[in-house]
């Protein structure tokens, strides 16, 4: 199934030691499944119960028929008993037909219910996830979240499609069989019980051991995988230093450890089958012997039926013993699956219960047109936008044209309360200006831009867009008005055209191509095997880093926002592509307010303002010439006396 790549990705299903299921989790899962299929689920349950009930009843007929044989086999009179026997068989066959119909119906319905439940869960999870704040994604690794969709949903499938029906089936059969056994004989029932209890204890013990080592196995695989990843991606270094033997030695150590725990885990798992099987056999033998001894010794039977010990009573017990043991085997296999399934649900629900990103903004971005010098709202596609700002107290609405004027006023910010990232940051950008942020890693450059589109909310101070506090602006509209080109150019699987259109879903092909031309991406796209229809994958192995950047620039170009944030790529790309990328960015910046997070100084010189950040404080500001003349930090950075990264 889905591949697990990279260390940290691997978390097997099941509970980690110390992890516990919350109360009411079973109820919640069952309730959810019911709510997805309010008719089908009860139908499935009814069918399973009927089928299980019937499956556990043949022993009654067996007993009756054998009693008939026992009575009359010495006479050899088949004609005399034929009628009676066939009457029993006929009832049995009718029951069988009902049971088969039920089984046929529920197995098919189960397919629908299982896959439907999984889909609902997936979609619910995904839709919740999309609405979670960025903070959520910063907190966890991609692999951990992915694991919800792969490991945990898979555990849920196992639980819904197999464990639930099996458990229900077992419950019905066990109850029915116990009733039948007690009907016949209390003593014999006790013999079976004693054996089954022993089986149960042993399987729990063995099962527990296996679960423990399987968990260790997951960890060992994770370690080995991490090491393989590290040494293969660093293969050139390994070879340059002739370190092959040392790596091999280290790998063998990890490999041996993995072997040791995985063979232990599998030993436990493998002996469970034979134990269940043969404990069943032993119990089978014990019941036969006990029955024989009861009959031979002429002991008095106690049972609801009041029958005496006889062979017609012992034989059905043999069948019931086998059935009972089979069920115990089944259920002990399911217990781990159920725990794993519930643990998966627990993790899924934990994410579903996260608080969605709040949006209390009431200022919206609307299409407007000018009529007699007054701005009025319109449904037409005017390419003219304005902020629609209702003032509750006065009951009026003002329209402010969208221009791209940004002001930060005394902004403080911290990701977590203990560690402040920005201190009293104030700056302004007039429409069309270019502002560059310069500073060492961790100075807070990226953070400033995270605040502009409200990925995070500031602790103190104010940010204004066209004079409106961004807290009042509806987040979706604010983000429409701020474009971002990120360092990591995340593209999505699909055609080149679709990736560009991501910036504006209703853009025509011509608009997309125009955007690609503006970004300087048109050239390389035309050379792709199928031009704009070439399918690229998200990690786009088929494109170079530079080409990916050009696409992400085209994507913003088609969105055409008045304010832009450019996070320069740190990785070095070849000089020619770098020039093209730079040209694309320059073209994009024309006429827009732009914030550049600079990782190289070559690109910031022509900024209107360069802001030098250090540990969350603005330490210098001014244009290139002013800052060079000031001979401060920027000067030192620029002359290479100080490292940027």
């Amino acid at each position: 199934m889905a591949g697990n790549h990279g260390p940290g990705r691997r978390r097997g299903p099941g509970l980690a030691p110390g992890e516990r299921l919350s109360k009411g989790i079973v109820k919640r899962v069952v309730k959810d499944i019911f709510s997805f299929y309010p008719v089908m689920v009860p139908a499935v349950i009814a069918c399973i119960m009927t089928s299980s009930l019937i499956s556990s009843m043949p022993s009654i007929f067996q007993q009756k028929i054998i009693a008939v044989i026992e009575r009359s086999y010495k006479s050899g009179d088949w004609a005399g008993v034929r009628g009676e026997i066939f009457r029993y068989i006929f009832i049995l066959v009718v029951l069988y037909v009902i049971s088969l119909a039920c089984t046929f119906a529920y197995t098919r319905m189960m397919a629908t219910v299982t896959q439907g439940t999984l889909k609902q869960m997936r979609v619910k999870l995904f839709n919740t996830m999309e609405k979670l704040p960025i903070r959520f994604f910063d907190r966890r690794q991609v692999g951990d979240t992915m694991s919800l969709y792969t490991n945990d949903i898979d555990a849920l499938r196992q639980m819904v499609s197999q464990s639930f029906p099996q458990t229900l089936n077992t419950a019905v059969m066990v109850v029915t069989v116990i009733c039948i056994m007690l009907y016949y004989s209390l003593y014999m029932t006790l013999v079976v019980f004693a054996g089954v209890f022993a089986m149960f204890v042993i399987t729990r013990f063995v099962g527990g051991g296996s679960a423990k080592f399987f968990f260790k196995q997951q960890q060992a695989i994770g370690k080995a995988e991490g090491y393989i990843q590290e040494t293969i991606s660093g293969a050139k270094v390994v070879k340059v230093f002739c370190h092959e033997d040392e790596c091999r030695e280290q790998f063998e150590r990890l490999n041996d450890e993995l072997f040791s725990v995985s063979s232990k885990a599998n030993k436990y798992a493998n002996i469970l089958g034979p134990i269940l099987n043969n404990m069943g056999n032993i119990l089978y033998v014990v019941v036969a012997i006990a029955g024989g001894i009861f009959i031979a010794s002429g002991a008095r039977n106690i049972g609801i039926s009041g029958m005496d010990f006889s062979i017609s009573l012992v034989i059905p017990f043999l069948g019931m013993t086998r059935m009972f043991c089979g069920q115990i085997g089944q259920i002990s296999m399911q217990i781990n699956a159920i725990v794993a399934g519930l643990a998966g649900c627990e993790r899924i629900y934990r994410v579903m219960d996260e608080n969605a990103e709040q949006d209390e903004g009431y200022v919206h971005l609307v299409n407007v047109k000018e009529e007699d010098g007054v701005i009025v709202e319109t449904d037409e596609q005017t390419r003219m936008w304005a902020w629609k700002h209702p003032h509750r107290e006065e009951g009026t609405i003002t329209y402010t044209p969208l221009r791209g004027d940004i002001v930060l006023d005394g902004v403080d910010f911290s990701y977590d309360p203990d560690k402040q990232i920005l201190y009293d940051v104030s700056l302004y950008a007039k429409p069309g200006q270019k502002i560059a942020f310069v500073g060492a890693t961790g100075a807070g450059k990226t953070t400033v831009t995270n605040l502009l589109n409200r990925f995070y909310d500031i602790a103190d101070g104010k940010i204004r867009y066209d004079g409106i506090n961004i807290n009042k602006i509806c987040k979706t509209d604010l983000r429409h008005a701020v474009g971002i080109v990120l360092q990591d150019t995340n593209l999505f699987t699909g055609t080149v055209m679709e990736n560009i259109r991501y910036g504006k879903l209703d853009a025509s092909d011509d608009e997309c191509i125009a955007a690609a031309k503006l970004a300087g991406a048109h050239d390389f796209i035309s050379h792709l095997p199928e031009g704009y229809n070439t399918v690229i994958s998200g990690n786009a192995a088929n494109l170079s880093q530079g080409q990916r950047q050009l696409l992400s620039i085209a994507r913003v170009a088609v969105a055409d926002p008045p304010v832009m944030i450019l996070d320069e790529a740190t990785s070095s790309i070849d000089t020619r592509t770098e020039q093209i990328v730079q040209a694309g960015m320059d073209a994009l910046m024309k006429g827009r307010t732009t914030f550049v997070i600079a990782h190289r100084l070559s690109t910031v010189k022509n900024s209107n303002v360069i802001i030098v950040l250090d540990k969350g404080h603005i330490i210098e500001r001014g244009d290139h010439n002013e800052l060079i003349a000031a001979k401060g930090q920027y000067y030192r950075l620029y002359t290479g006396a100080f490292e940027l990264e």
């Binding site: 199934m1 889905a2 697990n4 790549h5 499956s55 043949p58 086999y73 088949w78 008993v81 069988y96 088969l100 089984t103 197995t107 397919a111 629908t112 299982t114 999984l118 995904f126 960025i134 994604f137 991609v142 080995a224 995988e225 393989i228 590290e230 293969i232 050139k236 270094v237 070879k239 340059v240 230093f241 040392e246 490999n255 072997f259 063979s263 599998n266 034979p274 404990m279 056999n281 032993i282 089978y284 033998v285 036969a288 012997i289 024989g292 031979a296 062979i311 034989i315 990925f455 474009g483 990120l486 995340n490 999505f492 699987t493 998200g538 994507r555 020619r576 010439n625 290479g640 490292e643």
Partner: protein
């Protein structure tokens, strides 16, 4: 072919591998004999046997059950050892293979795919191997043995199996052959769905900044619905198995009870007796469930065969760069001189795509040589031919007057240290990382190397100094610090030739100059090759080589090149123009 390749990795686990099926067979024989004797016991009881007789029968039966338990448990353990051991050997063999790979090989497979092959694929094969040695023996053997016992026990009554076995087997084959291709297709779709979720999560900032949450939800809803539909369809095919199995079981039951009663009564218990009736039911269960098991194994093994093929690909790949025979290999490198004669180089040996063409070059031992050229011009390929990271397509490269192909690989690579463009440090302490250059390095030697690489200052500032732990991928130190550590690591190897492949790009210019000055002073006899983007990094070299589109365009000192190389002058001016404006 694939199987033959993989079987070679069983090795020391061959005894367990052979023992498992034997033990399993023992278990099956006993298991199938038990109902036969129970039938006898039941008949005796019916005929009024005494306690002593029952006990002696019971004793034998109990022994058989215990024997079967013992066989089964031991088989379970040997099977675990054999399959996990097999998996271990597979991983180990693959790791060895990959270790010996040339870069051409690694480029061919990609890191991610190699990791998956060594983990997920091995696990799949290991599980299939477990199935093969145990269940794949158990199921058919039980089918046959239970059938034999049923015929011995119940005579003509057992002919009912001739009716039900083909029904069930036919259904299972039909279901498997229809569902399997379907499942394979769906799993691909399912993988794609998960990949798109992963894209969405790692690109969540893009999603949110373009306000595409609703669009993504809609897109995912469609994908999820498609997966649901397909899976439901496939599972509905699978859903035929259970009722058909139940049907067969019911047929056997009804038949045994009716026809069995007839035979018992008409033969007055001489042909078969009530004991046999109940035993027949047990056998029918054994026969039918082993059929089910066989279809399961078939499915598992087909799925695993794809993994097996992927593993075999790695095991079969041959490295094209290997040491010469030990008796002919040159065991020492005389000095740090380098000579290229008519060298051509092309990736994967494809001559239409030459990366380097007609390279002739002579570098004396101890010289400092700068190499300049735009990205993609072939600078890195040129220097990687020296320690034989790649092999020339035509011509020859000599180090210390000997063709590099004649050296023992370890000897050559120990003499040629390289600081790569893509620097990699490994999880572990700074000292451990430095010792990659020389495992026996003393603290003094390490400090000296660190000092030369201008790394000593920042190392001392870290908590624990040389014992400071570097995270996976060097995530907890800066780019410039990483580069300096990599330089120190290379210096520690005390090589005859040291190559810097654009390895001071994140170091500030002053430190860059200090490092070069230090090397000139302290390791004058070592040949130094410096690939750089900045002309400032090579200005003071003995000679500078300008590479353009895979050819040497000019060779000379800084001053010479400024006069006679257009390319060099252009690069120099583009880098220094800005500085001039500011009076630098």
């Amino acid at each position: 072919m694939v199987i033959k390749k993989l079987v070679g990795s069983i090795r020391q686990f061959l005894p367990s591998t052979i023992a498992t099926p034997l033990l399993v067979s023992g278990e099956v024989v006993l298991e199938c004999t038990i109902p036969f004797y129970i039938a006898e016991l039941v008949n005796r009881i019916k005929d009024g046997a005494g306690v002593a007789e029952i006990a002696s029968y019971g004793g034998v039966l109990a022994l058989m059950a215990v024997g079967s338990l013992a066989f089964g448990m031991i088989a379970g353990m040997t099977c675990a050892t054999a399959s996990c051991g097999f998996g271990k050997n597979l991983r180990s063999d693959m790791y060895d293979r990959v270790n010996a790979f040339s870069f051409d090989n690694i480029d061919m497979f990609s890191t991610g795919s190699l990791v998956t092959r060594m983990t997920t694929d091995v696990t799949n094969v290991q599980n299939a191997f477990m199935m093969l040695t145990r269940v794949a023996v158990r199921a058919p053997f039980m089918l046959i043995f239970a059938l034999i016992m049923a015929f011995r026990l119940a005579g003509r009554m057992a002919w009912i199996f001739v009716v039900v076995v083909p029904i069930l087997a036919g259904t299972l084959i039909m279901v498997a052959s229809r569902a399997m291709p379907l499942f394979r297709r769906i799993f691909k779709k399912y993988d794609r769905m998960n990949e798109s979720i992963e894209e969405n999560i790692s690109g969540i900032r893009v999603v949110k900044s373009f306000v595409r949450e609703d669009y993504e939800e809609e897109k995912f809803g469609i994908a999820a619905e498609e997966v649901r539909k397909d899976f439901t369809k496939a599972e509905k095919i699978l859903a035929w198995n259970a009722p058909v199995m139940q049907f067969c079981l019911y047929v056997v039951m009804a038949f045994t009870l009716s026809f069995g009663s007839y035979v018992v009564i008409t033969s007055m218990g001489s042909e078969i007796d009530v004991g046999q009736i109940s035993a027949m039911l047990t056998y029918s269960f054994m026969v039918l469930s082993s059929l089910m098991m066989m279809s399961m194994i078939f499915v598992m093994i087909t799925l695993a065969s794809e993994s097996a093929a992927r593993i075999a690909e790695v095991l079969e790949a041959r490295s094209d760069i290997v040491s010469p025979d030990p008796e002919n290999a040159v065991e020492s490198v005389a000095d740090g001189s380098i000579e290229f004669t008519n060298v051509n180089y092309a990736y994967s040996g494809n001559p239409d795509n030459n990366v380097l063409t007609g390279i002739n070059l002579k570098i004396g031992s101890g010289e400092t040589v700068g190499i300049i050229g735009s990205t993609g011009s072939g600078k890195s390929s040129l220097v990687q031919l020296i320690p034989r990271l790649y092999d020339v397509t035509a011509g020859e490269v000599k180090v210390g007057g000997v063709n590099v192909k004649d050296y023992d690989l370890n000897v050559l690579r120990s003499a040629v240290a390289m600081v790569l463009q893509k620097n990699v440090l490994f999880e572990g302490t700074i000292a451990e990382n430095l010792r990659w250059g020389n495992p026996d390095a003393t603290m003094e030697e390490m400090k000296e190397a660190a000092h030369l690489a201008c790394a000593d200052e920042f190392i001392d500032s870290k908590e624990g100094g040389y014992d400071y732990r570097i995270d996976h991928g060097g995530a907890n130190i800066s780019g410039g610090q990483k580069q300096r550590l990599c330089i120190a690591r290379a210096l520690l190897a005390k090589p005859k030739i040291i190559i810097f492949d654009d390895s001071t790009s994140a170091v500030d210019t002053r430190t860059d100059a200090m490092i070069r000055k230090g090397m000139r002073q302290y390791i004058p006899e070592t040949t130094k090759l410096i690939i750089a983007q900045r002309t400032a990094s090579v200005e003071d070299a003995d000679k500078i080589i300008v590479i353009d589109s895979g050819r040497i365009s000019a060779v000379g000192t800084h001053e010479e090149l400024l006069n006679n190389s257009d390319i060099y002058r252009e690069i120099y001016e583009s880098q220094n123009k800005g500085g001039d404006d500011d009076g630098r």
